[in-house]
């Protein structure tokens, strides 16, 4: 009609975003595409997803290839960060917020408007419970009021023709709970966006005893030219403690170009140096299942270790935060070709012991025996083939062992493996023992490195969402009306109530109030033994 014609574009946009159809369409699109995204493996090598397509649709490899390239062009292989999925999420957020704002005035009115006395007709519709009390409404009013107040309801009163009406409400603000919950979703999304634009996610491996000034983020595979080009940048970054502008100066290139290159190669400069002082992994019993793994890290800035960040222990579920960057213990491994440092405790059969730090190939003497020995070989995970040939069976330090070659004077040489896990291998034929106490410098720690300035907003949003949902689902807006009507010089007290949730609970509360006031008039109430019928 007239009014609809006058709609401005803004009104139309507003209407579009408040429409339920939009909500349903967005909901279906997000859910539907998300499902597709869980079936196709995200950010995987093409072959993997082509095989998945072959498997699901039972099509030929060729067809799967073309289906794959179409899907890839549409962004399905990195779907959750594709432009259209992000757009869907934004539209969803807009829909959510505009719908909420649209309803807010009505709800605010419900909250702010003081509860009004009910008309007789309304009362007849919702009021049920009541009782008859002795005395005129003026007299009874105070004691009824006291009981209502004691139950936590502050009331106002209205004088009516044949008595009074007390009206009260509680929990009107609980109606805002659902808005808190909805706006929390917006907070979480904003937090996530801050994280995407101003933060990073990376990974770096630091061998024991070494330090790193950068981490790597995921990128498209590098060409060999790019690999070669990357090396001097990494070297210079190591010297400048991960300072990009210093690095650019040292290398004599423009900082912008350097940053562009670093972005391509996935280099994330930290702006300080992180050193792995030690790494250790424990296993459950003699199994290969890790029980706990931890690293000791030191932050180095300006060539010195930062006080409070020296030899800090991190483990899974317990990260280290420095300068807004968090280091998570995520992985571990062996340094290829590393020459470690071995700490051996040598004890003679008479109990004289001595601790030695040795490198591979070092010679040493067993105390009191004069027996000479060489640290000949090392295996991080020693195992034996059926024929007795030793080999390294694992890529983690599940069974560290050292080979010791003995050469006594005039005796034939013999050698033996000493395994850290098996104390029975520590004892030599003459009764003295060699205990491998520590092996250092052969392991590396894998650290997940993250900077996310938006995470606190995400957490805040999560907390407020929980509170909002709790209020919305478990608290209610209750209204209570108590009518006092004169009835032959006595007062009939009638309770009426509404609650937007858990009405039975509220009714039980009213029953308690009635019990406090006197007997409910399910049976006719006799007005006292002393005889109220005097008049």
């Amino acid at each position: 009609m007239e009014e609809t014609k006058k709609q401005t574009i803004l009104d139309k946009v507003w209407d579009f975003f408040t429409s339920v159809t939009l909500a349903v369409v967005l909901f279906a699109l997000i859910a539907g595409t998300s499902m597709v995204g869980t079936i196709l493996e995200q950010n995987a090598e093409p072959e993997k997803n082509i095989n998945i397509l072959v498997k699901i649709f039972r099509i030929g490899h060729e067809t799967a290839h073309s289906v794959y390239s179409i899907l890839e062009k549409l962004g399905f292989m990195d779907m959750y960060s594709s432009w259209w999925f992000t757009t869907l999420l934004f539209l969803f957020a807009a829909n959510l917020i505009i719908c909420s704002i649209d309803r807010l005035p009505r709800i605010l009115k419900l909250i702010k408007e003081p509860v009004k006395p009910l008309t007789d007709e309304q009362f007849n519709n919702i009021g049920k419970k009541g009782l008859l009390l002795k005395g005129k409404p003026e007299k009874v009013k105070d004691s009824v009021g006291a009981v209502v107040k004691r139950s936590g309801f502050n009331f106002s009163e209205t004088k009516e023709a044949r008595g009074y009406q007390l009206h009260s409400e509680k929990g009107n603000y609980t109606r805002l709970g659902i808005f808190v919950a909805h706006f929390s979703i917006l907070l979480i999304l904003i937090g996530a966006i801050i994280g995407i634009f101003f933060g990073f996610k990376g990974y770096v491996e630091v061998p024991e005893g070494e330090s790193r000034t950068f981490a790597f983020k995921r990128t498209a595979p590098l060409t060999s030219t790019e690999e070669t080009d990357m090396q001097p940048i990494l070297k210079t970054l190591q010297k400048t403690e991960g300072n990009a502008s210093e690095t650019a100066k040292h290398m004599g290139i423009d900082e912008k170009i350097l940053r562009k290159k670093m972005n391509r190669y996935g280099i994330l400069p930290l702006g300080f140096s992180i050193r792995c002082d030690d790494f250790s992994v424990e296993f459950y019993g003699r199994s290969n299942m890790p029980k706990d793994y931890k690293s000791w890290l030191t932050v180095i800035k300006g060539g010195k270790s930062v006080p409070g960040f020296e030899r800090q222990k991190i483990e899974v579920n317990d990260p280290l935060i420095y300068d807004g960057i968090t280091f998570y213990q995520s992985n571990y491994g062996l340094v290829p070709g590393a020459q470690g440092l071995f700490l051996l405790k040598l004890t003679s059969k008479t109990g004289v012991s001595e601790t030695k730090q040795l490198h591979l190939g070092d010679r040493f003497v067993i105390p009191e025996t004069g027996m000479e020995a060489t640290l000949a070989d090392f295996s991080p995970a020693l195992s034996f083939k059926p024929g007795g040939t030793p080999f390294t069976s694992d890529k983690q330090m599940t069974n560290p062992a050292v080979l010791i070659e003995f050469s006594g004077i005039g005796q034939t040489k013999y050698s033996g493996w000493i395994m850290k896990r098996y104390p029975e291998t520590w004892t030599l034929p003459d009764g003295s023992t060699i205990e491998p106490m520590d092996i250092w410098g052969v392991e590396l720690t894998g650290l997940q490195v993250r900077k996310d300035p938006g995470v606190w907003l995400v957490y805040f949003g999560c907390i407020s969402m929980s509170i909002g949902l709790f209020i919305a689902f478990f608290m209610s807006h209750k209204k209570l009306w108590v009518k006092l009507v004169e009835e032959k010089n006595n007062t009939r007290v009638i309770f009426a109530l509404t609650a937007n949730k858990n009405r039975p609970g509220f009714e039980r509360k009213i029953d308690k109030m009635i019990a406090l006031l006197g007997r409910p008039d399910t049976k006719p109430v006799v007005t006292g033994k002393s005889g109220g019928g005097k008049r």
Binding site: G37, P290, N317
Partner: protein
């Protein structure tokens, strides 16, 4: 008695309870009803004892492997919520507890015949899928209180969703009038497919149980290989035919079930109310425990609170479905059949989030590259 014996007793008791509840539906004698409730309570008590026993067993294993850990830490780390088997047991425990509360609150036993089968199926699934029942040491990433809270609350929420699934399905059965009606077709086909899938998995188990060593391999490599995807095209065709015929039979004779439920003293309004209330309780718990605590745990362990991995994505989809349920009901005033369908679909999403992602999608991914 060891926990596994006690679990065995509770499983048998629940299956017995299921049969008696179904008998109660058919004969409606109050004696049978009381028996069903009593047996369910016996099952529940023995399951509770079994869970506690299991807890002490894993406590002693934990303290043996980790003597340095404090008493409270040991108690928390040995809580029986550590693998698929234990989580399913806890789910069934929550479900039965929720059911008993409803039975006493609404003084109505008829839901029993719809809730106990879910418990029975979950327990049967443990054996059919041959999942590991061992008490295994925890890998470091799983040693987290956030994870514990996350798992516990997720399964409480899943149990409430399972209740809403049963009542939603009953509502649909009661309310659907004609065979051509969408809601009638929906419930008969859903129920039919559900039973067909489980039966097919049973066949897989019977045929391949000798070969398999763990459930992952059974489902990843042999799912439906004994029936629909059989090497022999004859078996495959027969399977498809049998499945279609079965679903047709459910569709054709579904009204018998309606007549049985209709003869009981359950009002559709009551079912509708229980469906809504279960979801209204489950949704905030799922949001906090399932999504938020899960995100906090992931953030603590890996530094990523959300990474769109299939598990996370599917729990978000589940969350969306229930959010849709609540909005359509509270905002649009949808009642009855439409929301009941959403409640049923919501639980299908729950099952997929919980089992499908682990067993089907991960299989798709890890085996994708090998062939």
């Amino acid at each position: 008695m060891s926990s596994s014996q006690l679990f065995g007793i509770s499983t048998l008791t629940y299956i017995l309870a299921m049969i008696i509840y179904i008998m109660y539906l058919a004969f409606r004698s109050s004696k049978i009803g009381t028996t069903a409730t009593t047996i369910t309570i016996i099952g529940f008590v023995s399951q509770t004892i079994a869970i506690i026993t299991r807890w002490t067993e894993s406590y002693s294993q934990w303290t043996m492997l980790t003597p340095e850990s404090t008493f409270i830490l040991s108690v928390l780390r040995s809580a029986p919520l550590r693998n698929l088997f234990e989580s399913l047991i806890f789910f069934v425990w929550c479900l039965i507890l929720g059911y008993l509360i409803i039975e006493f609150k609404y003084k109505n036993r008829s839901f029993g015949a719809f809730v106990t089968p879910i418990a029975g199926l979950a327990l049967a699934f443990i054996d059919i899928s041959a999942m590991s029942k061992e008490i295994e040491p925890l890998v470091p990433a799983l040693q987290s209180n956030w994870l514990l809270a996350h798992v516990m609350m997720s399964f409480i929420a899943y149990a409430t969703f399972a209740l809403s699934f049963s009542t939603g399905l009953m509502y649909l059965i009661l309310k659907a009038e004609k065979r051509t009606e969408p809601s009638y077709i929906f419930w008969t086909v859903t129920t039919g497919v559900f039973i067909v899938v489980l039966t097919a998995m049973g066949f897989d188990y019977l045929k391949y149980r000798v070969v398999i060593k763990n459930p992952d391999i059974l489902i990843k490599s042999f799912l439906f290989k004994a029936s629909f995807l059989s090497e022999s095209s004859v078996i495959s065709i027969i399977s498809w035919l049998a499945a279609s015929v079965f679903i047709f039979v459910v569709w054709r004779y579904g009204h018998i079930l309606k007549r049985i439920i209709g003869s009981l003293s359950i009002s559709p309004d009551m079912l509708d109310e229980i469906t809504y209330k279960s979801i209204a309780i489950g949704f905030p718990i799922f949001t906090l425990g399932g999504l938020i605590f899960g995100a906090i745990w992931a953030d603590q362990a890996w530094g990523v609170y959300w990474s769109w991995d299939p598990k996370e994505t599917w729990s978000l989809i589940t969350w969306f479905v229930y959010a849709f349920f609540l909005h359509s009901r509270l905002l649009r005033g949808w009642k009855g059949r439409k929301v009941a369908i959403v409640a049923v679909l919501g639980f299908v999403a729950v099952i997929f989030t919980y089992l499908g992602v682990n067993l089907l999608l991960s299989g798709l991914h890890s085996y994708g590259g090998l062939e």
